[in-house]
Structures are given as C-alpha cells and as structure tokens.
Subunit: 151 residues, 2 copies
DNA sequence: TTTCTTGCAAAGAGTTTGCAGCTTC
DNA sequence: GAAGCTGCAAACTCTTTGCAAGAAA
C-alpha cells in the first residue's frame, strides 16, 4: 500500500527534487505532529532527534520547498514566527484556525465554512478566489468550561 | 466639531498617554493613508516628511501603543512584515482583505461577511469568538478585466 | 521634581544566503 | 564529473530594548 511518504516522494520527483534523508526526516516530523502548528525551530529540534547532524538551514529550505509544492501551508498567527501545517491530502483550501486568547491553544476546523462567503466575494467584488486564510480569535471550549466568561 | 484626531487624543488620555507631536504625526499619516496597508517602515518614511527628526523606534512604539488601544489593527499577510490599519470607528470586528496574487494589490471589505459562520463556530465548537482575520488570495477585478485567466 | 517620551545605537529574533564539501546519478 | 543537496557561519531584515537626554505636568 502506498503511504503518505510515498506520495510526497512522488510529488517531489515530479518536480525534480529528491527525498533525501534530511527531507524525509522533516516530513516525518510533520506527519507525526499534524495536529500541532510547529515553527521552523520546533521542527528543527524534533528532526534533530532522528537526524542529529541536520542543520537549521536545511529545515528552512525543506519547509520552503514543501510550501512551494503546496504540501505544507505556511501560516502566521501574528507573533512573528512562521508555522507550518501539513495540508490535508486533496484539500483545495486552507483550513481554518481557532486561536484561544486565554490559553493560546490553536484548534483546527477542517470543514470549509466559507463557500457562501466566497460566492459573495466573487460576485460582488469580481474577485476570483484561489485560497483563503481564516482565523478566529476568542475563548476556546476548554477555557469556556473552566470558568465564567465576562468582558 | 470634534475631529478624529480629537477622539484619538481622548482615547490616549483615557489610558494615561499623551498625544505628543510625534504620535500625532504618526496618526495623521495613518489617517491620510487609510486605504493603504503601511508597514512600520512605510509609516516612518511618511512621518519623516512631517517631522524629520523622528526615529524609527518611536514609530514602532507608537504603532504598538495604538494597537494595544485598538485604534489600529496590526496585520500580517505572510511576507514577514507587519502592516498597520486604522480601525473603522466603532468597528467591533476586523475587516477582511482581498490580496491579489497577480499584482499584489490589497483591497478591503468593510462589511462583515462572517456573522453566519461565527454562529456556527460558537455553537458547534463552543468557541466564543472575539475577533477574526479573513484574507482571500486570488485575482482582483483589475487583473480579471485585463486579460484571460487560466490556471 | 517626577514621570513620560524620545532618538540613537545596540541587541535580538527569525530567516536567508554563500560557499566548500558531500551525494547521487 | 555535473547537478543537486547539506552544514556551517555569516549576513540580513524586521523589531525591540537600554539608556541618557528632553519635554510635560
């Protein structure tokens, strides 16, 4: 059976790149942390466990490469650090994020909630939507449960 | 009649800050460029025309202050540079952006298109929405008009 | 005087790049 | 051996901070 790594390898080859051991280690870290939103530094530290000789620059170069090939998405929650998210296979659109302003947790919404909104944008603004970024800032269910919420 | 500057001055005073000449010059630049999405450097260069002795650090400090007071919004389109947008007076929510991947233009949508979506998020994810960031990436009406659009 | 604010220069964080050496075909 | 890839260190960009001097209350 074809694994996710195999498919990524094919994508790289199709674009004339190799899946080197360093690149594979990086991809594996991303696969093992699909739920998280790792920074380049985070990825670097995790990759080092598998491949201690790897350099930070290689991780950056790999993440950039994967971003170009649309295998990962580079996101920015405004804290000055780029984060990298493995794209859902076959996902045409970026998923959404819920950032908790209390505890800092970041949850994902895989469903596309914007279909109607995109229709409006395309019709009313004559803007051909190719992708979107949507992040909500607020209080997550964990913090909501934990106590009363007043403004 | 009370001007926008007057009101901003009051907001500063209410939080025990002064509207110094440097801060006023910075705010004026933002007012004169409401349509744009200026980086700190952009603001700095424009402020320098009015007040040549101003330092870049002061501009950064002023923009940070205005962001804290929710007079401006700090945005990030993923190019590693923070941009600053004067908030619409009385706007509870952040406006949306249309970023053209052809010409780089950034247009604004002041209308809140997300009311329905936020309801869903609050109900289904038990997430209390306080604010949102929504950016569409695609082809703007200018580039659309200019020629045929194929992928 | 005391407190806030500023300009400058230095420091800091995150990211990119030049280059020599190493792989891979 | 040509082409691609890597690790290291240096460079670079954007932003923040320390500090002495200046302005305001």
């Amino acid at each position: 059976m074809e694994t996710r790594i195999d498919r990524i390898k094919k994508q790289l080859h199709a674009a004339s790149f190799k899946l080197t051991p360093q690149r594979e280690a990086t991809v594996r870290v991303l696969l093992e942390h699909e739920e998280d939103h790792l920074s380049a530094e985070d990825v670097f530290l995790l990759v080092k466990d598998k491949a201690p000789e790897i350099g930070l620059a290689t991780v950056y170069r790999t993440l950039e490469l994967l971003t170009e090939l649309k295998i990962v998405d580079k996101i920015n929650f405004g804290d000055g650090v780029a984060r990298y998210d493995l794209r859902q296979e076959g996902a045409a659109h970026f998923h959404h994020h819920l950032v908790c302003i209390e505890c800092g947790a970041v949850d994902e919404i895989q469903e596309d909630l914007l279909e109607d909104v995109e229709q409006v944008v395309e019709k009313r603004w004559n803007f051909l939507v190719k992708d979107h970024r949507l992040t909500f800032h607020g209080i997550c269910w964990r913090c909501n449960d934990r106590g009363s919420v007043e403004e």
